[in-house]
Amino acid sequence: MDDLFKLLMQNARFTNEQLAVMLGISEKEVAEQIEQYERSGMIRGYKPVVDWEKIDTERVVARIELNVLPKRDFGFDEIAKRIMMFDEVETIYLVSGTYDLAITVAGKTFKDVALFVAQKLSPMDGVTSTSTSFVLRKYKEKNIIIEDEETDVRGNASL
């Protein structure tokens, strides 16, 4: 991973000017490199990391473990692609272990999410079982600590 990419992983909102200074290259080079990341699909998008507790919106997230029957010739792709069409589904991973697909689903209330699972997900062809865990508290996301600010214990001045 190159240094520009690392910096964007730290904070995607550094300006091109700041990035150029930090890396000792020109702003033009920074812009070109970022465009290259985007065009090649290395970077698919930019979104803030949010502490939803601080936002006046009803929101519930659940992680759902799915067992599915893979289709001949298509494996897990076909069912995964059908599931990801739902707006409620935020992430979907094919995983190793005791189940096949790990998905996260967001809704306004517990009931919304429960109904989504019961009415949309479970009845789908090929889904053999689901196990839903509601997220109660988020401690860390994308390397950012959500709960408390990490405090600098070094004091403000030392020699």
């Binding site: 910096l7 730290q10 550094f14 700041q18 200074v21 930090m22 600098d152 001045a157 030392s158 020699l159």
Partner: protein
């Protein structure tokens, strides 16, 4: 009781740091965005911490030999050879100390007699002068200048050498200026010292943090090893300040006397830290490089930001400090720092903390994340507009 009468005269005569009051205020204020610390923000790499934990689990909780674990001394010698082409014998040319600070103390005490002169390039770290004073030696400051990129020049050195000169402190890469002595600059100094009886205490604690080429130790130059005591440690390069572990390497007769003082004052450096340090020096070259690379990114950011603010600084090549001039504001260093602290809650250190010639400068640490630095610079910019 009249403690003034009871206490050692010499100790009482040592000046407490003039900016202690400022530090007390800064350290007690909350909501401060600081650029004031002199230690890494990184955590000690996990494998090193794990080695420390493992040593505790194995009950390795006794004293080590006075000079330190032989395995650690051996690994340090390998490391110094691999990184800086230095050759030391672990048996009698290395002593493990409680931080680089103790090594500085031991070295000065082992070498100087009453009335002898210790040359100290300033601005510099604060420990050398008081230790020399405790030995009844005479600290002789050598002023280094911004126009020389705060390097020690052969000319400035020659001017201060007298028949009483015993020891030259060579604190590079430098705290607080970030100055680095490259091979050609060291060669000039070596040329002055060869053929004299002047010893060198080369404090290379920031050796791994140089940004325009590998650090060169004066001990690696022809004819210098025999007159140099190299001080280094784990605090800065491995982010291990709290482990309190450093070392000195030098000619066996000097190390022998230093170890004698160490034996009586300290016994042996912390055992847990020594085991952790074996892991550090053996297997963590990549961690050093990762952290140094990160510092370099911040260095470019902060140098550029301060120059844009009009607080000009030369490009520092080592450590993790910049030393910008604040003379354009018309304020003294201490006034500048105090006003900035109260007005914008940004902590930086007055240059005068590191010697009188630091007047007109401040020390700014970039041992902070880029986002933190950007926020602090914004506040400083606002402060400058209100002046």
């Amino acid at each position: 009781m009249d403690y003034n009468r009871l206490l050692s005269q010499k100790v009482q005569e040592i000046k407490p740091s003039g900016i202690r009051k400022f530090f007390d205020i800064a350290n007690e204020m909350t909501g401060v965005i600081s650029l004031g610390v002199g230690e890494p923000d990184f955590k000690t790499p996990w494998s090193i911490r794990e080695a420390g934990i493992e040593s505790l689990e194995k009950s390795q909780t006794w004293y080590t030999s006075n000079a330190g674990l032989m395995e650690l001394r051996r690994e340090i010698c390998h490391y110094l050879n691999r990184r800086f082409s230095l050759d030391y014998h672990p048996e009698n040319e290395v002593v493990i100390t409680v931080g680089g600070s103790e090594a500085i103390d031991l070295c000065i005490r082992a070498l100087v007699n009453e009335g002898e002169e210790v040359l100290i390039p300033e601005p510099c770290f604060v420990a050398y002068t008081p230790v020399a004073q405790l030995c009844n030696a005479v600290p002789v400051p050598i002023v280094t200048k911004a126009e020389d990129h705060f390097r020690l020049t052969a000319q400035a050195l020659k001017e201060k050498i007298t028949p009483k000169t015993k020891l030259l402190i060579l604190p590079f890469p430098n705290n607080p200026t970030g100055a680095v002595m490259r091979r050609e600059h060291l060669e000039e100094i070596a040329e002055v010292l060869r053929g004299t009886d002047i010893m060198v205490l080369s404090d290379e604690i920031y050796a791994e943090l140089t940004y325009n080429g590998n650090h060169v130790s004066i001990a690696s130059l022809d004819g210098m090893k025999e007159r140099t005591i190299l001080v280094n440690g784990f605090s800065k390069s491995y982010a291990m300040t709290g482990w309190r572990l450093g070392y000195a390497c030098g000619p066996a007769p000097v190390i022998q006397q230093m170890t004698k003082i160490h034996q009586f004052a300290i016994m042996s450096a912390p055992t847990t830290s020594q085991y952790a340090a074996i892991e550090a020096v053996k297997n963590c070259d990549d961690d050093i490089r990762r952290m140094a690379n990160e510092y370099n990114i911040r260095r470019r950011l902060i140098v550029d930001s301060f120059n844009k603010l009009g607080l000009t600084c030369f490009e520092p090549e080592g450590a993790f400090y910049i030393f910008p001039s604040i003379q354009s504001t018309g304020l003294s260093s201490e006034d500048f720092c105090e006003k900035l602290l109260y007005a914008e809650k940004v902590a930086v250190v007055p240059g005068t903390a590191f010697g009188g010639c630091g007047e007109g400068f401040i020390r700014v640490s970039y041992s902070y994340s880029p986002s933190h630095i950007i926020e602090a610079v914004k506040r400083i910019e606002h402060f400058l507009q209100t002046l």
